[in-house]
């Protein structure tokens, strides 16, 4: 995935978070214009960023949201719950898209078009919120255009059809006949599309299988000096074979700027050409209709061919006849198609003028002619022209072009011989009228060659020799010429744009830059690892000093090493501290999601809740904070679902109808305390007792013996749920035990206090940082182990005679308390007895596990050290009883025990 996208995803989530925060703020105080502006800025920026990537659905929804915000900001729409709901839903949609994109995680940007319908719906819903007095921009649905929905052109020959040359139309007709689907696409990019980073031309040029194309302007071009190149008035029109869905996908950013029409064969059959009386045509129509009625297609084709040979190829009638032949030629051609065409020929004959002047400059340019050649008649003079009026020359040019066009028609119809003859006849006419009779002999020869070869090549060659100027000036020649012409003109240097283009960016686009940088966690972790190694390496120095003194007997060197060590030690410790600081995150990282959660849940449960959060700036290690997220979420849900009552119940109990949920964070020495309290109904110990008994969590004896507090703590037992009904909010019995486990995993504790009718308070206590662990080193069976200091209560020496065996378990009395004893060698299945010191006393490490004291007999207790604990990885990861391992200063590995797991 490219770095830009990664950054977008990260920032996008932050934006979404801020957006929902602002929405909630605004819901409480709709007149907070500062928040409103900030919200608009956030939505606007997010939309802008999303535009960098290929996610039109996201941009569309955000765009709609931005519009709504813009209107709301201007005060034209009041900020309401409905508006907030709609915006939140839109943001959830965007968030979902972000997740999808993140999940794809490939080099290719995932396509999000499957969400197009949803995006359109959200967009429409958002825009629906804008009042009707405002210009509602049509939320263009981007569903693929199905053929049924496509507007069908009426049968009258449209202008666009005539604009397509006959040859191309015939080709299209054949394709349609062969079963291809063709579409006519009109793409009119909006005027300010360039400012949105669109390139309509690129969009269009990317389309495959374009059979016909046209680029025009929607309005007349203004004089060049006044031309605004950045106001797009282009209009693209093309005919292509494609799938309607693919087209919709291709233009999914601009669905409102394209029109797609399916092409039907009937649309294309429009004869074009010069109108001229054709005496034989009337007879032909009559004969053709008879032939058609008797389905004598062969006769019809024969008659058509005959007439075609006799007609000048650029005549309307010739064009009609060619169509007729094509229709006859193609098996699927419908009978009524032929009939229609014949009827049209008939109509044409009646309507046309008796005699159109030959070679006259007709008002309508013959579409058979490629335009743009008109300016070049002068070049002609070297070829065919003598001293002839330019009008005649132009006409000759037209005729010659037409002949060329006919000769270059890609396929050779069965009436080729007639066609060739007709062309030759036309050319003869031209030669005579231009007074170039001398050419007639070569023309005749060319015609004969062409006829024998059954290919128009010879005639074309003749035409080339005779007449036409090169269609393009030779590039290498022209510059040379212009050098002479404009030798005095100033050297041409394209001037730099004299003023910057005014992009309509708004001032709000520049978020206040903060002096912070974002760093990936991996990098910090690497720093952590490095400093860990540094500490270990540093700790090797005292050993070295010891060796220098004891082994090599150089006292002086030993002292110097020690003084160097103290310097390095200080720096390393500061460095370690600094890196720890970097890893600290404020608890607001977790807290920030609660306003939305509480709001949504309260709405759903029909409760009124006021959420109070305190101490959000309290900091703790990132891992701790992250581990906190889910348990906290769970606790808050529980409070809302089970703790707080509905407004009616609360009023009946004499409490304000609005419940209060407080989340507090504070630091106490090296621990972070988080308190979640509510003023709800509290937990009734009696109910808990009975539930627990019913579910078999406790037996009858325990039921009687439990104190109220102990009973309340039963909610932490696995599989315990008090809710009468399982709701979608909570109450599936995988509740507080999961919470407790999650908290213990990061060496935290959880405490629950509750008063019936008064509320519940849950206190979480967590270490500030998990990175450095203080462990006590103990020795047993000749090995060293570490035990986390959190668990250690005290270390004592117990003489062998003070140890008693009760129920086959070793116990001793310590400070008037009975403490069970276990031997570490036994726990680790080491086959040696614990050693005592010279006074026959055992070293006992008293640990506290879940409020119970336990003595672990070891061989010796040594010093405590700060270590960087690394969890056991790989195969060792599955081994129970160890919290992890750490490197000691002398390079040896210390295994750190986990007393809880060990037992």
């Amino acid at each position: 995935m490219n770095p830009l996208l990664i950054q977008f995803l990260a920032e996008g989530r932050e934006f979404l978070q801020s957006i929902s925060e602002k929405l909630l703020t605004l819901e409480n105080d709709p007149n907070d214009s500062a928040s409103m502006n900030e919200l608009f800025r956030l939505v606007h920026t997010l939309k802008g960023n999303s535009g960098l990537f290929d996610f039109p659905e996201m941009s569309r929804v955000l765009h709609a949201a931005e519009d709504v915000m813009d209107v709301a900001r201007a005060g034209q729409v009041t900020f309401s719950r409905a508006l907030a709901d709609q915006l939140l839903e839109a943001m959830d949609f965007v968030s979902g898209l972000l997740d999808d994109i993140d999940a794809a995680a490939s080099d290719q940007l995932p396509s999000t078009h499957q969400h197009a319908t949803e995006a359109a719906r959200l967009g429409a819903a958002l825009r629906g919120l804008m009042t009707q007095s405002l210009t509602t921009v049509a939320a263009a649905a981007s569903e693929p255009v199905s053929a049924a929905e496509l507007p069908v052109e009426n049968s009258a020959p449209a202008e666009w059809v005539v604009a397509i040359s006959e040859a191309v139309r015939m080709e299209l007709y054949r394709r349609l006949d062969a079963g291809e689907t063709l579409y006519r696409l009109i793409y009119q990019p909006e005027e300010d599309c360039f400012f949105k980073g669109e390139d309509p031309f690129f969009q269009v040029i990317q389309l495959p299988e374009v059979h016909w194309r046209q680029v025009t302007a929607r309005e007349d071009w203004s004089p060049l000096a006044e031309l605004d190149a950045y106001r797009c008035i282009l209009r693209f029109e093309l005919i292509l074979s494609a799938d309607a869905a693919d087209l919709a996908e291709h233009f999914r950013y601009v669905p409102d700027q394209i029109e797609i029409f399916p092409l039907t064969a009937a649309m294309l059959v429009v004869p074009t050409g010069r109108a001229q009386a054709e005496p034989m045509a009337t007879d032909f129509v009559r004969a053709a209709q008879t032939a058609l009625a008797s389905a004598d297609y062969v006769a019809l084709a024969q008659a058509t061919r005959t007439l075609l040979e006799l007609s000048a190829p650029d005549l309307w009638i010739a064009s009609a006849l060619r169509w007729l032949l094509l229709l006859l030629d193609l098996p699927q051609a419908a009978n009524d198609g032929l009939q229609l065409l014949l009827a049209e020929i008939g109509k044409h004959l009646v309507s046309q003028l008796p005699s159109a002047p030959l070679f006259a400059k007709s008002g309508v340019k013959s579409p058979l002619l490629p335009s743009g050649k008109e300016e070049k008649p002068s070049v002609e003079k070297g070829g065919l022209g003598g001293f002839i009026s330019s009008d005649t020359l132009w006409s000759a040019q037209v005729v010659l072009e037409a002949q060329r066009e006919i000769l270059t028609l890609p396929n050779h119809p069965p009436w080729l011989s007639g066609q060739l003859k007709a062309v030759a006849a036309s050319l003869t006419g031209v030669c005579i009228s231009l007074g170039r009779e001398a050419e007639l002999i070569t023309l005749q020869q060319a015609l004969e060659t062409a006829l024998t070869e059954a290919a128009p090549q010879a005639l074309l060659t003749w035409l080339d020799q005779q007449t036409l100027p090169p269609t393009e000036p030779l590039p290498q020649f022209v510059p040379a010429l212009s050098v002479v012409k404009s030798a005095s003109s100033a050297p041409a240097t394209p001037a730099a744009p004299n003023e910057p283009v005014a992009f309509n960016r708004r001032a709000e686009d520049h978020p206040s830059s903060s002096p912070t940088i974002k760093v990936e966690q991996v990098k910090i972790d690497r720093l952590m690892n490095l400093i860990g190694e540094m500490v270990v390496a540093k700790n090797a120095l005292p050993y070295l000093a010891g060796r220098a003194e004891n082994v090599f007997g150089v006292r002086e060197l030993s002292r110097e090493i020690k003084s160097q060590y103290s310097v390095i030690n200080r720096i390393a410790e500061e460095m370690q501290d600094a890196i720890m600081q970097v890893r600290l995150l404020p608890v607001s990282f977790v807290f920030q999601r609660f306003p939305r959660l509480v709001r949504d849940l309260a709405h759903r449960l029909g409760k009124e809740v006021r959420l109070v959060m305190e101490g959000e700036t309290t900091e703790a290690d990132k891992n701790i904070i992250e581990a906190l997220a889910d348990p906290l979420m769970h606790i808050v849900r529980n409070s809302l679902d089970h703790g707080l009552e509905t407004p009616e119940l609360r009023r009946a109990a004499g409490k304000p109808s609005e419940g209060r949920l407080t989340i507090q964070a504070r630091q106490e020495s090296d621990r972070v305390l988080i308190e979640i309290s509510d003023d709800g109904r509290g937990i009734d110990p009696m109910v808990i007792r009975h539930k627990a008994y019913e579910k078999g969590v406790i037996d009858e004896a325990t039921l009687e013996r439990l104190t109220d507090q102990e009973a309340i703590n039963l909610v932490f037992a696995a599989g315990f749920s008090t809710a009468e009904q399982i709701t979608d909010v909570s109450g599936r019995g995988v509740g507080m035990d999961v919470v407790r486990d999650a908290i213990t995993r990061v060496n935290g504790t959880i405490e629950l206090r509750s008063q019936v009718g008064q509320g519940t308070r849950i206190t979480l206590s967590l270490p500030l940082s998990m990175a450095v662990t203080n462990v006590m080193i103990i020795a047993s069976a000749g090995q060293r182990f570490g035990v986390p200091m959190d668990a250690v209560v005290e270390t004592v020496r117990v003489s062998r005679c003070a140890i008693h065996t009760i129920k086959r378990r070793l116990t001793t009395v310590l400070r008037e308390r009975l403490v069970p004893l276990v031997s570490l060698n036994e726990l680790l299945a080491l086959d040696t007895l614990q050693r005592t010191n010279s006074d026959d006393e055992f070293a006992v490490l008293v640990v506290r596990i879940e409020g119970e004291y336990l003595g672990i007999i070891v061989d010796d207790c040594r010093e405590t050290v700060d270590i960087i604990l690394k969890p056991l990885a790989g195969f060792l990861g599955a081994v129970n009883g160890y919290a992890g391992s750490a490197l000691l200063g002398d390079g040896s590995v210390l295994l750190v025990l986990n007393p809880r797991e060990l037992l």
């Binding site: 990019p189 360039f194 390139d199 309509p200 031309f201 690129f202 269009v204 040029i205 194309r213 046209q214 680029v215 302007a217 071009w221 203004s222 060049l224 000096a225 031309l227 190149a229 950045y230 797009c232 008035i233 282009l234 490629p370 335009s371 743009g372 393009e472 000036p473 590039p475 022209v478 510059p479 212009s482 050098v483 012409k485 404009s486 003109s489 050297p491 041409a492 240097t493 394209p494 001037a495 730099a496 744009p497 283009v501």
Partner: protein, 77 residues
């Protein structure tokens, strides 16, 4: 620099971006009879196309890139 100006001929580079439309327009204003050599060009932004359509300069050489050449031929003829 996407252009190379040679007296009355502007030789376009491989890609004419949206910013180049401005330069193109100015050059054409200065050289009303200037010609364009598009041989190397493989794509030009639609804004450039607009300028070409409006100014209709003489194209001394069409692009070698076939799709672009086809389109330009249709657009400018």
């Amino acid at each position: 620099m996407p252009f190379e100006a040679k007296k009355t001929t502007l030789i376009a580079g491989e890609l004419l971006t949206i910013e180049d439309a401005e330069s193109l327009l100015e050059w054409l204003l200065k050289h009303p009879r200037g010609q364009l050599d598009l041989t190397a060009c493989t794509h030009l932004h639609a804004a450039n196309l607009q300028v070409l359509l409006a100014a209709r300069p003489k194209i001394a050489a069409w692009p070698q890139h076939a799709p672009l050449a086809t389109w330009l031929h249709t657009a400018l003829n």
